[in-house]
């Protein structure tokens, strides 16, 4: 390279020749392309004109010439070809000249490259590329921008109506909008996108207003889905990806948001109808369409909740009105509720993708009707009875293990909807006790599985007592083995009767009324022997005997044959009185036994007026009166060798409800104290809501009950009302 100064005119002459050559190439004239040698020469010329000290430094002039050349090229060659053209022709021509312009700029910049290296930065001037872009923008773009925008939008409109358009043409046109922004998307957004969106909105608004009249909800939704897909494709094919969000939002707004109410409420095909007719696909589509729209799912979830609530309520009422036998009716009710639950749970999972809104809608709906059975029994009790029926012997022998597991699992799920969970726990515990103590449990595995499901659902505290009960039974078995050993090694102590004692840990088991029944001597001996054994094991625990839970096997020496009678301990105590007396009056029995009237009537009834008349009664009426006389009925017989004389249990329902109410009072009391101890000062409404929150796992407290406890705590001087503000309470340490 020659390193000498060069005269401006001469230098420029050389460069300009190169430019003219470039222009001829661009015009498509048969012109050879630049060789690398030629290129180097041109570059060097420029270099020589710039890398000099003044006054031979022609950087500024060259910089200006660069612009001039471009402007001249544009105005003489490019712009004219645009004039008079419209629509698609305009677009095509624009793309063509854009391409040409880019080539020109590229090559020119290469020639003038040295300016970019130092001069541009030194003078803080726009780089050569930028200059090129600015020229194009000022001289071409500004003139045609409105027309090309309109033409582009027209094309898009045509495509929407089903015509095929030249996607790559559109893409190229939009590239120009972007390029003109020179790094920012402003031109694209302001000069094209804004109107495109507006046009899109208008288009879909028109479409929607006619579709909503003519189409059913599923049809409309299908069209929406298709439109959205097409718009996305549009973005993929030629729009800029930054347009996607705004475009989709616009379409969604016009199609889905504007008409949401009309769509969902369509009489024969709207959301309610779809639910009614089990149209899972359509519901799934509805979910898909509305899940991206903020608050879009709210009305859908609402309708879902109303629908489920209505179905559930109708179900409860229908079964309440049916005239089946009470036990059957309630069993059917629970089965049906479980079915309903499974059905709509499937909707939540499959159609609604387990979305929170729908999970909650289902929960709220079930809470409404699960707590109102329309019968005398609360739903807590029904559910406990339902479980008991499945778990006890003879309850569900026909079902497979899996079916049983599934039913129990579903039953436990229902517990989440029942407000009185603590009431359920009490009923369940009572029935569990009966199953365990009278050996009526069908399957240990199922029992344990239910407890673990309950624990999972309601927490450890809920099942800790029940688990204790099960453990007690297991321990008792071990204990019994030890007792047998004890008897073997102390044969003198043997009571002469086979004795099995189950030890229950107080606190785990429901509370039982202890009674002071006078036992026959044989039984007393049993008790003493066991006491002796137990004292060898531990001196720290006290045994209280609950005879009402015991069973006894007696040999009834009837005339015809001896029959083994399986009775309760109390019944046995009554019968054994007749070992020493032939005939006894009610009062004599009463005195000897030291029972209550209520219990005695039940006992005697079961032995003399029920299915098996072990005792004969005078007079032979159907009920027990205090003037009756009883005798051992030696004439009694039965084809079986062993019969069980059932003793109908006392209806504990009232007591259970009372017990639970009492527990609740304590729980509410404790909750209030807990809250106030932490907060020290708290407003009434907040206190109430915090208590409700704390107790929510176990039961739904009555607001009046909370108020009552607050008053009680005021009387007991735990709390006081604030003098200034009567709605605020203070904790008194």
């Amino acid at each position: 390279m020659e390193s000498k100064t060069i005269d401006f005119e001469r230098g420029w002459d050389h460069v300009y020749k190169g430019i003219k050559q470039l222009r001829r190439i661009l015009e498509g004239l048969p012109e050879p392309l630049f060789t690398s040698g030629e290129y180097v020469m041109l570059y060097s010329t420029v270099y020589n004109m710039c890398a000099r000290n003044p006054p031979h430094n022609y950087s500024q002039q060259l910089y200006d010439k660069y612009r001039e050349v471009l402007e001249e090229y544009i105005t003489s060659t490019l712009s004219p070809s645009l004039r008079g053209k419209r629509d698609e022709f305009l677009l095509r021509e624009l793309v063509k000249i854009w391409v040409n312009h880019k080539v020109m700029v590229r090559w020119l910049s290469r020639f003038f490259n040295y300016l970019d290296r130092y001069f541009v930065d030194y003078r803080s001037l726009p780089a050569l590329n930028e200059v090129g872009m600015t020229c194009f923008t000022d001289l071409v773009y500004r003139e045609v921008q409105t027309n090309i925008k309109d033409a582009a939008i027209v094309l898009i409109g045509k495509e929407r109506e089903g015509d095929r358009i030249d996607c790559s043409l559109l893409k190229n046109v939009l590239d120009i909008f972007v390029a003109v922004g020179m790094g920012s998307m402003e031109r694209y957004e302001d000069d094209f996108e804004a109107d495109m969106l507006r046009d899109t909105g208008a288009y879909y608004s028109r479409k929607a207003s006619s579709w909503i009249e003519e189409d059913s909800c599923p049809e409309y939704m299908l069209k929406c889905e298709e439109c959205l897909k097409k718009e996305r494709d549009r973005v993929f094919h030629y729009l800029r990806s930054s347009s996607e969000v705004k475009l989709i939002e616009k379409v969604q707004h016009e199609l889905l948001v504007t008409y949401i109410d009309r769509l969902l409420e369509k009489e024969h095909s709207g959301c309610r109808a779809l639910l009614r007719d089990d149209k899972a696909d359509d519901l799934s589509r509805m979910y898909r369409l509305y899940c991206k729209i903020p608050r879009g799912l709210d009305p859908v979830a609402d309708i879902f909740k109303q629908h489920v609530t209505a179905e559930g309520t109708a179900l409860v009422q229908a079964i309440g009105a049916a005239s089946n036998a009470p036990g059957v009716q309630e069993h059917v009710l629970l089965r049906k509720i479980i079915e309903l639950h499974c059905k709509y749970m499937a909707y939540v999972t499959d159609c609604f993708q387990n979305h929170n809104l729908f999970c909650n809608a289902l929960k709220d709906a079930f809470k409404v009707f699960c707590n109102n059975t329309g019968t005398d029994s609360s739903s807590a009790e029904l559910l406990a009875t339902f479980c008991d029926d499945i778990l006890k012997k003879g309850g569900s022998e026909k079902l497979s293990d899996e079916a049983i597991e599934e039913t129990l699992e579903n039953a436990v799920k229902l517990l989440a909807y029942i407000n009185d969970r603590d009431l359920f726990a009490e009923f369940y515990r009572k029935k569990l006790a009966r199953r365990l103590l009278f050996d009526r449990s069908a399957n240990d595995d199922h029992e344990r599985s239910v407890l673990s499901k309950l624990k999972q659902q309601c927490g450890e505290q809920f099942t800790s007592k029940m688990e204790g009960m099960v453990t007690d039974i297991t321990l008792s078995r071990e204990n019994h083995a030890a007792f047998e050993d004890y008897l073997r090694s102390n044969s003198a102590a043997h009571p002469g009767i086979d004795l099995t004692v189950t030890i229950l840990t107080t606190g785990f088991w429901p509370s039982y009324k202890p009674c002071n029944l006078n036992l026959p001597t044989e039984m007393i001996k049993c008790v003493e022997v066991f006491k002796g054994f137990y004292e060898t094991k531990t001196k720290h625990k006290k045994l209280t005997w609950i005879y009402s839970l015991g069973t006894c096997n007696l040999s009834g020496m009837f005339d015809q044959k001896t029959i083994e009678l399986v009775v309760s301990t109390h019944q046995a105590a009554v019968l054994m009185l007749f070992n020493t007396s032939d005939r006894l009056s009610y009062s004599e029995i009463m005195d000897q036994l030291n029972s209550t009237h209520e219990d005695l009537v039940r006992l005697l009834h079961s032995l003399s007026c029920a299915k098996y008349k072990i005792l004969s009664k005078q007079p032979d009426t159907k009920t027990i009166s205090r003037s009756d006389y009883f005798e051992f009925n030696s004439k009694f017989t039965n084809k079986l060798r062993r019969i069980k004389i059932p003793l109908p249990p006392v209806d504990e329902k009232k007591k259970i409800v009372e017990d639970v109410d009492k527990d609740r009072r304590y729980a509410i009391d404790a909750a209030i104290v807990r809250v106030m101890k932490t907060r020290k000062v708290l407003g009434y409404q907040q206190l109430v809501s915090e208590c409700v929150e704390q107790l929510s796992q176990t039961f739904k407290p009555d607001i009046k009950a909370i108020k009552k406890q607050i008053e009680d705590l005021i009387t007991r001087e735990f709390l006081e009302r604030d003098e200034e503000n009567p709605n605020t309470f203070k904790y008194l340490a």
Binding site: Y684, Q685, K704, K707, K708, E711, T715, R721, P726, N727
Partner: protein
């Protein structure tokens, strides 16, 4: 100042007849309040002397004349609540007693609030007598009776809001009244 042996209910009865006031009259209660008497039916020597000094009287006749003024003093808003609470405490005759039986409360309401809030008292007393939930009334409930009379429009009960911390007995009372009115 006499000599009347006041440390006994009979003494007080005698005082009442001297003053020409029935011993169930509210003004005796007001006097007790002024005297800051601790025990119902009794005025101790101390209480008597301190109280009379506060009233600025030194004879029975002057005491009699001072009664109307005493009434006015009690009815002053700043004193009234104090007097009202005092009336309740005055009924707590046993040690550690915290509540007063319904019968007495009804009488007390009549006595203390009857003049100013006649309709409220009549309805409230009627309710207290028929309801079964409460056999006694505690201090918190008592003070809220007054607040009820002062704040709640009667008999429409429009501004009564059961979701606020009104004692349950008043919630029940309002419910009972609304049922009666419908």
């Amino acid at each position: 100042m006499p000599l009347v042996c006041l440390s006994s209910p009979e003494g007080i009865e005698a005082l009442c007849s001297d003053l020409g006031v029935d011993y169930t009259d509210v003004r005796i209660l007001m006097l007790a309040w002024k005297l800051k008497a601790e025990k119902q039916g009794y005025f101790t020597q101390d209480e008597w002397q301190t109280g009379l000094k506060a009233l600025g009287v030194d004879s029975l006749t002057k005491l009699k004349k001072a009664l109307p003024e005493l009434e006015k003093e009690v009815e002053e808003p700043s004193n009234y609540e104090d007097f009202y609470i005092y009336a309740f405490q005055y009924c707590l005759t046993e040690e550690k007693q915290k509540s007063v039986d319904i019968e007495s409360i009804c009488e007390l309401l009549n006595l203390v609030l009857g003049v100013q809030f006649r309709p409220q008292v009549d309805s409230l007393v009627e309710y207290l007598k028929v309801q079964n939930d409460y056999k006694v009334i505690n201090a918190d409930q008592w003070i809220n009776f007054l607040r009820f009379c002062k704040e709640i429009s009667f008999p429409d009960l429009e501004n009564y809001d059961a979701t606020q911390a009104w004692p349950l007995i008043l919630d029940n009372f309002v419910e009972w009244m609304r049922e009666k009115q419908s």
